[in-house]
């Protein structure tokens, strides 16, 4: 994959485009197509939508934390901090995804 950082840059663009569609769908089925206030029943019915939710979660976490990494590097944190930031963000991301996935699985009962 060419020069270092290219894969990260590419994935940031790929997740961005995917998120336009996935978040659009998420807003549609979780906010527009249902009566407010939302209820527990709205979120426990569909296996398909919970799988979509997990997809959104992974896309969002990658895109958000890569964005945070870019912003932190713009901070001018230095190369020593940079070596800590990347694994730390991976850890935060994995914990977040595990937290989210077990919530979605719990909702399915």
């Amino acid at each position: 994959m060419g020069r270092p950082g290219f894969l990260g840059w590419l994935l940031q663009r790929v997740t961005a485009v995917a998120l336009v569609f996935f978040l659009g769908a998420h807003l549609g089925y979780a906010h527009y197509a249902v009566e407010w206030p939302l209820t527990w029943e709205d979120f426990t019915g569909s296996l398909f939508l919970r799988v979509v939710d997990i997809g959104i979660l992974v896309l969002v976490v990658y895109h958000a934390l890569y964005g945070v990494r870019t912003a932190l590097l713009d901070f001018g944190v230095g190369s020593r901090a940079e070596r800590v930031i990347t694994p730390l963000l991976w850890l935060i991301g994995l914990i977040t995804i595990i937290f989210g996935v077990q919530i979605f699985l719990f909702l399915l009962g």
């Binding site: 663009r13 961005a16 485009v17 998120l19 336009v20 978040l23 807003l27 527009y32 407010w36 206030p37 939302l38 209820t39 527990w40 979120f43 979660l57 969002v60 958000a64 934390l65 964005g67 945070v68 912003a71 713009d74 901070f75 001018g76 977040t96 937290f99 989210g100 919530i103 719990f106 909702l107």
Partner: protein, 137 residues
């Protein structure tokens, strides 16, 4: 940012400059710089919102009663107003992100016009959605 500006404002960056990845007074910025600054600011907002969103709903989803109660709280007009703001932030970030992608791909797009389009469409999305959010129609 203009290169001479970077030279003019020497010394340590302020905290605000670090958070926004900018340097010096924003008043002298051109459209492209505003686009970049707004993308960074909306990006930070969305990161914080995303984590709060997952945590609040995640912890509320342990019991049907707590889930319904939290959703009832978030139906308050104050939260609907915040939701409306969030919609504008998401639409701007998405459309300006698309603009950045097109520029990165080397396409010769009218960059300033695309920024104003992203900005206007975000405001339009908020305006059009407001009556639905507050169930006026």
């Amino acid at each position: 940012m203009a290169r001479d500006e970077r030279a003019t404002f020497g010394g340590e960056k302020t905290l605000l400059e670090r958070f926004t990845g900018t340097r010096g007074s924003w008043r002298r910025y051109e459209v492209g710089m505003w686009a970049w600054l707004l993308h960074r600011i909306t990006g930070w907002l969305l990161v914080f919102y995303g984590f709060i969103h997952l945590w609040v709903i995640g912890f509320a989803a342990v019991r049907p009663e707590s889930f319904d109660r939290v959703m009832e709280i978030f139906s308050h007009p104050l939260y609907l107003l915040l939701d409306l703001g969030l919609l504008g932030v998401v639409v701007f970030h998405a459309l300006n992100g698309l603009r950045i992608l097109l520029i990165d791909l080397g396409l010769k797009i009218p960059q300033k016009a695309f920024f104003w389009a992203a900005f206007s469409l975000a405001i339009l999305a908020v305006g059009v959605s407001a009556p639905f959010f507050f169930q006026v129609v």
